[in-house]
Every structure is written in structure tokens, then in C-alpha cells.
């Protein structure tokens, strides 16, 4: 079975070929691989192939509490998206199906370093002066 549809491959090509700045995808694998994590790794490899400015690093070592704590991940499998700056964006579980388009959008935004929020939203967000952690729970599609 194909991992991605032709439509999804086209989405990757169209949205990622002209990134403005490098983006690194750090993929922390679990200690024990499964069919799901193998598929997740293949998906990330496909995504990374869409741009020379996308770099995928696979961290397949065993759980290293000090290293994981420094990066701010609490569990694996985990995907960290970062440019020169780490914006604190983590994915747990493959961003496949309908989530792929949103994931591509996040890669573009991280590359540009711009949120593209409205001025009104930016003004309100600037009022945040304490740690605020948002978890978004999604389902496989």
C-alpha cells in the first residue's frame, strides 16, 4: 500500500519546495519499534525529501532522560520541529491523513518564523508572561 496518495505528494512538493529558511525535524523513536513508528519514520522521510532546506534527524537511541528533558519531550515517539529557534512545537504520533496539511503549514511557519496571526490575536498573546502549555488531542484519520 502506498504511504501517501499522489495528492499528498503534490501537496508536499507545492508547499515545501520554496521554504525560506532551514527547518530541522528531530524524530525521537521509541525503544521498541512498531509498524506505526516505522510508518511514521517513512512519512517523515517523504516529507524531508520535499525540500533541500528540510533536515530529518532520527534519534534512535534508548531513552536518555537528561537529553529528552533538555529538549522538552516527555515521551516517544516524538517529533520536534525547529529552525534556528526552537518554538516549542512537538508532535506525538504521525501527522498523517488530514493532519498532514496542517503539519506542512507548521513547517512553513517555522521556516518563516512568523505566526501569521491577526494583529488582534498577537496583541492578546503578548499579554502572556508565564508558561502556557497547549496540548491538542487529535485522532488518526
Amino acid at each position: 500500500m502506498e504511504l501517501l496518495s499522489e495528492q499528498q505528494r503534490q501537496l508536499l512538493r507545492e508547499r515545501l519546495h520554496d521554504l525560506s529558511n532551514p527547518v530541522t525535524l528531530l524524530y525521537y523513536t521509541p525503544d521498541v519499534a512498531s509498524a506505526a513508528t516505522r510508518a511514521e519514520r517513512m512519512l517523515l522521510e517523504e516529507v524531508a525529501r520535499a525540500s533541500d532546506l528540510l533536515h530529518l534527524e532520527i534519534l534512535a537511541d534508548r531513552w536518555d532522560a537528561a537529553r529528552e528533558d533538555a529538549v522538552g519531550i516527555a515521551r516517544t515517539p516524538a517529533i520536534v520541529l525547529r529552525a534556528d529557534e526552537d518554538f516549542g512545537i512537538r508532535y506525538y504520533g504521525a501527522p498523517d491523513g488530514y493532519e498532514l496539511e496542517a503539519f506542512v503549514g507548521v513547517i512553513r511557519a517555522v521556516s518563516e518564523g512568523r505566526s501569521a496571526l491577526s494583529e488582534a490575536s498577537r496583541t492578546r498573546v503578548r499579554q502572556v508572561v508565564a508558561p502556557l502549555h497547549i496540548e491538542v488531542l487529535i485522532a488518526p484519520t
Binding site: Y91, Y92, G93, A109, V128, H133, I134, E135
Partner: protein, 73 residues
């Protein structure tokens, strides 16, 4: 694109996890998830479903404020 990621890009105080509950099903139980997407702020359920940007930001900030007030009480 994910609104939570936009907020994280905008503010160094904000971080976000996008969690596929198939991978971490215990979180769906912990937060009483009965619809998708469910958004949780500092451990408290903030909103369910897809909201406009304005409504999402409102829900996030209101939940964070309520969480902060509860922790002080």
C-alpha cells in the same frame, strides 16, 4: 495550519504538543476526550472542536487565567 503552533511561534512563553491519541490513548482518558480535536491548556480542557482564531485565542487565554486563579486559591 495548527493554531496552537501559531501561538507557540508568536510567544516564547507558549509551547504546544499535537498528540495523536492512537499513540497516547491514556491522555484521552485523563482529559475525558469525547470529541476531536480537544485542546488542553496547562492541564485543563479549554475547548473542543475547530474554532475560529479569535475564539481559539479567547479559549486559551481564559483557560490559562482560570487555571492560574485556581492554583492561587
Amino acid at each position: 495550519m495548527s493554531l496552537s503552533a501559531r501561538l507557540a511561534i508568536e510567544s516564547r512563553w507558549i509551547t504546544t504538543d499535537v498528540i495523536n491519541i492512537a499513540v497516547l490513548p491514556y491522555l484521552a482518558v485523563r482529559y475525558g476526550v469525547d470529541n476531536i480535536p480537544t485542546t488542553v491548556v496547562n492541564g485543563r480542557k479549554a475547548c473542543v472542536g475547530t474554532l475560529s482564531e479569535d475564539d481559539f485565542v479567547q479559549a486559551i487565554l481564559a483557560t490559562a487565567a482560570a487555571r492560574e486563579a485556581a492554583s492561587r486559591a
